[in-house]
């Protein structure tokens, strides 16, 4: 997953300029030359300058650096699915954990990831449930972290 330096450069220039524009609205402190806008403004300026240099560099080395190289693994469906699934698992947890509950989302995430990483289904199911219970016990019971019960609230203990 390699991009040409100019791609990053462009993103950085846009980011830098956006931040500079944004900090203009920050209040000034009466009687002082420095306010909350100064530091982020300087950082953003730096980012924009670095971005510009990266654009120049990237364009100059255009022949050696294609716009985008996907990498070997993106041609293997299994790896792409696994990669997306890792990100998806976290996203699913954020979206569903509160409503559905940790004890349901946890094993589900583990089971799917196990399968995608090539674990046999029976083993995956057992490990998913056991691992979730161990983590749940450690954090919920021992460390008293309020992991959400979700649908299971009625059976909470």
């Amino acid at each position: 997953m390699k991009f040409n330096d100019a791609v990053f450069g462009a993103i950085l220039v846009v980011l830098g300029l956006a931040v500079i524009a944004h900090v203009q609205a920050f209040p000034r402190i009466p009687g002082q030359q420095v306010g909350p806008a100064l530091f982020p403004g300087l950082v953003a300026l730096g980012l924009a300058v670095c971005g510009a240099i990266l654009i120049v560099y990237g364009l100059r080395h255009r022949s050696a650096q294609p716009w985008f190289v996907a990498g070997e693994w993106t041609r293997s469906t299994r790896h792409v699915v696994a990669f997306v699934a890792v990100i998806g698992a976290i996203a699913v947890y954020i979206l569903l954990a509160d409503r559905v509950g940790f004890l349901i989302v946890g094993p589900a995430i583990l089971f799917v990831l196990f399968l995608l990483f090539g674990v046999r289904p029976a083993r995956a199911a057992v490990v998913a449930i056991v691992a979730t219970l161990v983590i749940w016990y450690a954090f919920y019971k021992l460390l008293r972290v309020p992991l959400p019960w979700g649908l299971l609230t009625r059976y909470a203990f």
């Binding site: 997953m1 990053f8 920050f26 982020p40 050696a64 990498g71 674990v119």
Partner: protein, 650 residues
């Protein structure tokens, strides 16, 4: 004296002792599993330490990291796959020893000299930190401003393959640190109305994302083949260690000293220390030709170096609040959480805490020997732990651990974003370490900058008005502006200075940058230029690019020359191999020195073109054979073609 007694009481509290024991086992396990790093161990420990008293929390981190850096050597020795990036420097050497039947000696040397290095670093920490703290008590915002800036500069200069990318990383980190209310004016910046962003972006979720989640992503995208564990039995690893100590006292001392110094430099940690001291060990050795063939000398020296770096990194962290490596960057977050704000006042107001930290370091390095001994006994079983089961469980642990810090799913989102950003940045050659330092030090830099600006009434001359501030300022500016100037001047001044003897074998910085130069000639011509200390920095940066989180654990991670599928071991061997440096180690590689296997089928050649390009950035003398293809069918075809070309002589 009272403080010391109190410290003993805190450290030998039954709870703390139990936690140290547990953390040791955890650290040994995490270090021994390739793909899980010492930094990751720290990040995973944080949610748990959150619920502990301060000294117990620090005890957990100190022991776990010390153990992890040692046990990273175990898979290096048995699998030729470093367990943590800090062991990458001599994994080839250790594996070569295993193949010669000397696995015991290699593992024993790793263990014993890790402990000795760790104790040396601790001694330096104990002796220097209080003195530095006393000095630092007189620092004003001007000195702190320059000190932080100097630290950030070091991080870029030392770790970045291309300093510009390091600067970008750093600036991104600083920008992230700007979010929230925590600025001198107390004005909510970049919060976009979100209450969660008011307090800034959580440092711990971000660290867990950058060091653990990105590692899991790397594992998911990893197409490498599985490696086999060496099967020979391992006996008493401690045999022969006393002889080694007597034989290599200078090496031990040199490795430990260098390790401590490198550790104390912000941004450079155990991994850089190991690379540098391995290179120096080879350069200074009486028998450099033995390096790479399974010679224990380099392992003794760099094994001591990486553990001493751990303690060294705590010096600036405790005294100035400037982390010496990514582990202490997390530690600083923990210290703030525990109300033990780092800085010189920590030494004057709560000396018992500091004594306790010193004691913890001593104990951690002492119990490393028995526990490490046991760990080596069960090493083969640890190495067989299926990573396809481990990685998802770690992911769930990360999610829950991140949630536990503030009990908000928002932090889990921060973790996810940080993980993905770290993965993408690192893949594109942006080092992660400066970004971490930027996040950790951003607030401190801004505060001291603004305070200084107000004090000096906006006059920049005020930044140089005090002697110490002026010295630090000049040093910082020199670090920024000297290297480019020197680079401009050198070709004229240093053209005649090239000495082939000095250059021979040693990997020079320029050679390191272009892998396209034949390794033999790589050093020649720039032998007069940047020599040792610079070079390893370049060469290793790949190892650490990742984050010092390093991906060296993942099979064939980007930092490690991919193993040629049909000639693992002999091909693509480390540049340290004497005699091999002058010719492409893989005879199958085209002599045109592109590092490309010419035997690839047309389809794989498309891939090799790309990897060749990537290969240019490999350090000189480290060869990547690009004929690796995704499927075994293609691989077989490739190797058949290569064999029929008679290419595989070693």
């Amino acid at each position: 004296m009272d403080a010391l007694v109190t410290a003993f009481g805190m450290v030998f509290d039954p709870g703390t002792v139990l936690v140290m024991l547990g953390a040791s086992l955890f650290g040994l396990f995490v270090g021994a599993v390739p793909g899980l790093t010492a930094t990751m161990a720290t990040a995973l420990l944080v949610p748990v330490t959150f619920f502990m008293p301060p000294i117990t929390a620090i005890a957990a981190i100190v022991t776990a990291t010390a153990m992890a850096i040692f046990s990273g050597d175990i898979p290096g020795c048995l699998l030729r796959m470093p367990g943590t990036p800090a062991s990458a420097a001599y994994a080839d050497e250790a594996y070569a020893m295993t193949r010669k039947g000397q696995a015991e000696l290699a593992l024993g040397a790793s263990l014993v000299f890790s402990a000795i290095g760790g104790l040396f670093g601790t001694a330096v920490l104990i002796l220097s930190a209080p003195a530095l703290a006393e000095f630092a008590l007189r620092f004003s915002s001007f000195e702190y401003f320059w000190l932080v800036l100097l630290g950030l500069t070091c991080a870029i200069v030392i770790t970045a393959e291309r300093p510009l990318k390091g600067v970008v990383s750093l600036l991104l980190g600083l920008l992230v640190a700007c979010v929230g209310l925590g600025n001198p004016a107390g004005f909510p910046r970049f919060t976009f109305g979100s209450t969660e962003l008011m307090g800034g972006i959580g440092m711990i979720p971000m660290m867990i994302g950058m060091f653990a989640v990105s590692e899991i992503l790397r594992y998911a995208a990893d197409t490498g083949a599985k490696l086999e564990v060496a099967t020979q039995p391992i006996g008493n690893v401690l045999r022969g260690m006393w002889e080694l100590t007597k034989k290599y006292p200078v090496q031990i001392l040199r490795g430990s000293t260098l390790g401590t110094l490198v550790g104390a430099l912000p941004g450079a940690g155990a991994d850089i220390a190991a690379w540098m001291s391995y290179a120096i060990s080879k350069k200074m050795s009486k028998e450099p030709e033995k390096f790479g063939t399974g010679h224990v000398e380099g392992i003794v020296e760099s094994g001591a170096a990486n553990n001493s770096a751990l303690a060294g990194a705590w010096i600036p962290a405790l005294v100035f609040g400037i982390p010496g490596d990514s582990i202490t960057a997390i530690v600083i977050g923990v210290l703030y959480m525990k109300n033990m704000n780092p800085g010189p006042t920590l030494f004057t107001q709560n000396p018992q805490n500091i004594y306790a930290v010193f004691l913890l370091f001593i104990i951690a390095n002492l119990i490393m020997i028995p526990l490490g001994f046991l760990c080596i006994k069960v090493a083969k079983r640890i190495l067989r732990v299926p990573r396809e089961l481990l990685m998802p469980v770690i992911l769930l642990f990360c999610i829950v651990g991140t949630f536990a810090i503030n009990n908000t799913p928002f932090d889990v989102g921060v973790m996810l974003a940080a993980g993905v950003v770290a993965y993408v940045l690192e893949r594109n050659g942006f080092p992660i370490a400066p970004a971490i330092l930027g996040v950790v030090l951003g607030g401190m830099l801004e505060e001291n900058f603004i305070t200084s600006m107000i004090k000096s009434d906006g006059q920049l001359a005020g930044f140089f008005a005090r002697p110490v501030a002026a010295t630090l300022g000049v040093l910082t500016l020199a670090a920024w502006f000297l290297p480019p100037v020197v680079r401009r001047l050198r070709p004229v001044a240093g053209a005649g200075a090239a000495s082939p003897t000095r250059a021979g074998g040693a990997v020079s910085r320029r050679g390191a940058r272009r892998g396209s130069v034949p390794p033999g000639s790589a050093g020649i011509g720039d032998g007069g230029r940047l020599r040792l200390p610079r070079l390893p920095a370049r060469m290793l940066h790949r190892t650490l690019a990742g984050s010092r989180g390093g991906n060296s654990g993942t099979f064939g991670g980007p930092d490690r020359p991919r193993l040629c599928p049909y000639m693992r071991g002999a091909c693509c061997a480390s540049g340290a191999m004497p005699g091999r440096v002058r010719r492409p180690p893989c005879a199958a590689s085209s002599p045109s020195v592109t590092g490309r296997c010419t035997a690839g089928s047309p389809r794989t050649r498309g891939a090799s073109r790309r990897s060749r390009r990537a290969g240019r950035r490999l350090p000189a003398g480290r060869w990547r054979c690009a004929c690796r293809s995704r499927t075994s069918r293609r691989r077989a075809r490739c190797s058949r073609a290569a064999r029929s070309a008679g290419a595989h002589r070693t």
